[in-house]
Amino acid sequence: MDIKNRILEIVPEAEFSENGSLVAIVPSSNLYTLAKRLKNDEDTSFDYLLSLTGMDFGDSLGVIYHLESTKYGHMIVLQTSTNDKDKPELYSVSDIWKGANINEREAYDFFGIRFINHPDMRRIFLRDDWVGFPLRKDYNDELNPLRMTNEVTEDMTQELTLDKDGTFTNKENIIFDDQEYVINIGPQHPATHGVLRFRTSLQGETIKKIEPYCGYIHRGIEKMCESLTYPQTLALTDRLDYLSCHQSRHALCMCIEKAIGVEIPERVQYIRTIMDELQRIDSHLLFYSCLCMDLGALTAFFYGFRDREKILDIFENTTGGRLIQNYNVIGGVQADLHPNFVKDVKEFSSYMRKILKEYHDIFTGNIIAQQRLKDVGVLSREDAISFGATGGTGRASGWACDTRKRKPYGVYDKVSFKEIVYNEGDSFARYMVRMDEIVESLNIIDQLIDNIPEGEYQVKMKPIIRIPEGKYFASVESSRGEFGVFIDSRGDKSPYRMKFRATGLPLVAAVDTITSGGKIADLIAIGGTLDYIIPEIDR
């Protein structure tokens, strides 16, 4: 089926641009109808909103939607914009895809685009008293000095509704009313794994509603990237999700390499794939440790950290870093593999396979762990897709969302590995997916480690890298889901707009759905098994 013709059928005014990737440019008045048709029609069924990017095109403000179908695997990029820069208003798609809700709040926060019919139009990362919208090109930074007053948490939110007779009204929606018992979990709470704050409304010990507050460590990485050259932007990706820095950097390098059309040597592909998998084991070991500690099993916590240390030593020998590794560069990797790398990885692989049994003995089988994880925090498959909750969370809900299988990159098409999918959708399934993935990652590494081809570890690049004009997108399977990089280039040495699809943002958005009706004590187990990383959410 030709999607292009299909879109023209629904919206005859649509235009197409093919710079980098196929983008359908749709007038803002038709976007909502088109989006709804694309999702609901049987033969298109774009049920997964991969990414929603706010844009400042210069003379207009707009949004770019990356859609994908989990049924057919096809993709399309939609773009819409409004010329009214003083009062930009676009239609919300948050009732079509649940994941759009939090992403549209981000677009409002950074670009000031108000989404019509969005139930909760508040800032998400920045303070409510922030002046201006920082990712707009005409933003003046001097309007926002360091504030010395506390931010007041509002219990009310705005909604811009469009009535049937075509008039806009501002409606006030209540987040928490005066009668509700609301407590703060975080921003400094060990079980939120970083500075994330949940305002939790309780009825006894049952959770009625959770409202996530992000942005405590927001650094504006996307804005910073706009003034950095491409090699310089690489340094920031390691600081997004510090437990998948190889993968995030791989995604950015891949996107840039794809855009300038560099052929990457086979050896680099092998090295990158092995490093990605080592990083995944590293991340899953830390996940295991932290989950165990959250549930009170401190002994198991140390087991995970003990073995993670071995991976960090391997990393340190080759890349020179333990947490921030700085290894992938545009056109290759920073340095060749350390002479001991192959030996160390093989030793680690056989050690890890043996030691995993101990992990299961001490924690997985444990009656307390079982009772605290099983049937707790169930996320249905439909919700997982609608929120865009990829990675271990999505696969635990029965959604085969592994980017390594769906859109193979590196040398994942040359290795055989199983995609771990559980159907229960509860915390225990989310835990087991990651534990089983450690074994699968070891399988991948074992298949590759003896066959690393000889050759260059880096392609010589020009001193100044410019990307031809266009829109580019690349995604990888990071340790906790599909991590995507979107670059809009105007042909300069730095990007016009760079957007990172955070893997954690949909997870945080889904917390309310997962926990509602559950007990407050289960929030810890649910948060632990969702395995979000805050620096990546906040960016």
């Binding site: 090699p231 600081r239 020179g320 101990e358 001490i362 009656i367």
Partner: protein, 155 residues
Amino acid sequence: MNSFFKYFHSLFSGILTLLIGMKTSMKVFLRKKVTEKYPENRDTLKISDRFRGTLVMPHDTENHHKCVACGICQISCPNGSIVVHFDTVVSEDGKKSKVLTNYEYDLGNCMYCQLCVNTCPHDAICFDNSFEHAVFSREKLIKKLNREGSTLVKK
């Protein structure tokens, strides 16, 4: 009767899982220790050669460095950790050249992205292994990398 049986079954199987866990932790307890005693083990501590500790400018035995003060490192640094101060010297035949006076490096600002080392055309700077950076004030983190009285190496 059935629920009675179920109750005791889950009770004893639960206790069994706890015993298995206990056995595992005792097994690990009796193994060789893997922890390291830092800072007592400073002499035997092994750090990878590629570890990025501090940016340094290697000098040879005659106090020569390789920096020509071209400033490429300063341009490629993403957050301005490097400032190259130089004098412009006119030689006898009228050629202008830059002479390094102070290679200022702010360790507190550096994010170890290695772009300065990668782009340096003369391999004048590199990272060394030292990692004990703690000081009492931020000013001490601003370092001068070229030594006192050092000059450019003669080709």
